[in-house]
Symmetry: C3
Subunit: 193 residues, 3 copies
């Protein structure tokens, strides 16, 4: 396997890295990590053992992706983002990895912190500097410490507004690209909660 990694990066033997993926300076990928195709892994990034990352994922400088985290396709993980995998970390003692899932198309803004045990729904967007403490619904825009649902976004990244009711779903329409998609009504009602 030929890996497009800068000479200062460390890719441990056994890591599986798809074609077209670039790894930048001083990053470290552990030997049991699996990274898809056409990803971009920035400066000083850490990809831990057993981490799985999909295709076309961008990971910004200094993000740390720890064991127990799984990242889907087309995600954006901003610079300085810190995942976690232990709810009550201590230096000593036994320790159980708590899993975190980032669904396809999700974006996480710069310097956000993701507490473990949550799922970030598809095409959601976490604003920069947020602390995510619970699940983020699909297409939700969340931010703050703790992060709360503040609106909804299209897969293109722009705001989406309620277009109509569709039974127990709400049809949302992107204000920019016009795409229409549905979300469950109970998710829609989380906004501002």
């Amino acid at each position: 396997m030929i890996v497009n990694a800068h000479e200062t990066a460390t890719v441990d033997e056994g890591a599986i890295i798809g074609s077209g993926t670039n790894i930048w300076h001083y990053s470290h990928v552990r030997g049991t990590a699996v990274i898809g195709k056409n990803c971009n892994i920035g400066h000083c990034v850490y990809i831990d053992q057993n981490v799985k990352i999909g295709n076309a994922v961008k990971i910004g400088n200094k993000a740390s992706i720890f064991q127990g985290v799984e990242i889907g396709n087309g995600c954006f993980i901003g610079p300085h983002v810190a995942f976690t995998n232990d709810k009550r970390p201590r230096s000593a003692g036994k320790w159980e990895i708590v899993r975190t899932t980032v669904m396809d198309g999700a974006s996480i803004g710069a310097n956000s912190t993701i507490l473990c045990g949550v799922t970030l729904g598809s095409d959601c967007m976490v604003g920069s500097g947020s602390v995510v403490t619970r699940d983020v619904p699909q297409n939700a825009l969340v931010y703050g410490n703790p992060a709360k649902v503040r609106g909804f976004v299209c897969s293109c990244g722009n705001d989406a507004e309620k277009s109509s009711n569709k039974g127990r779903n709400v049809a949302m329409k992107c204000v920019k690209c016009g795409k229409v998609f549905e979300i469950p009504e109970d998710v829609y009602l989380l906004c501002g909660d």
Copy 2:
């Protein structure tokens, strides 16, 4: 050009770096960056393409300065500070750089996050761990998530208090060094807002 960079740092060809500037371990400066004289660039710092940085700027460990950011003279950029340059980041699609300006003498505390599109006024101070979402007035002390104006500071870094009215300006006096300076009254009234 002789660059004072540690042997583990990467300074790409074409970067312009002033005399007396030091670059520490594992930092990466891209080839079209311009950095002034007598700066100190810490450990694992990233300076992106086309970034302009003035003279006598201190940049702490692991700060990331992205394309679209311009930093004036005498600024302090704390460790772990994350700038951004995309309001709605997605892995795919077109993308327009949003500019951020840090004026002369401004300080940004450790681990703060700066949303793009803002101006940090001269001699302002951003408290550590803040998330800056809007413009910071000159000499303002801001902190929190989102960062709000909590007071005013002198160029020496200490608190300044209202001394007198000067028409539509307010004269502020530093409680430590005694320096007097003026700020617009509407800026003064932002405090606590």
Copy 3:
């Protein structure tokens, strides 16, 4: 002295590092730092001059420990944690180091920011993404920006609840391991403050 440091790490001459301590990739330990035995120092960590760190301490990726910080035994310093040592940082001018102490057994969650001049009490726990602006009592669980006391934790990391009054102390019992310990009543009353 034989140091277990990855070949990409930089350990300056004069640093004192105990047996069984590992230092990972791209980390930098300055020449007057003192680190105890059986510690684990992650990826891209920075340990500044004159820093003292006890035994069996885990320091996560990209944490920065600056001059003026002292860390006891058995502490957990999460990834991306930023300490500070200057209350009003400016690029220019004189500057006095403000000290910060982390007592034995304390844990600091990922991406937290610790303002200088505080003491983090023994066995306390700082939640991920917090900004610590004041002292943290022993065994307290704090989080948020600014971090506030939200509960109490056992040395094992799990929640502890009030068991009985003991004069001016409160006896706390761990809900998981059953350990009983005492904290001052005035500390107990800080919860929710």
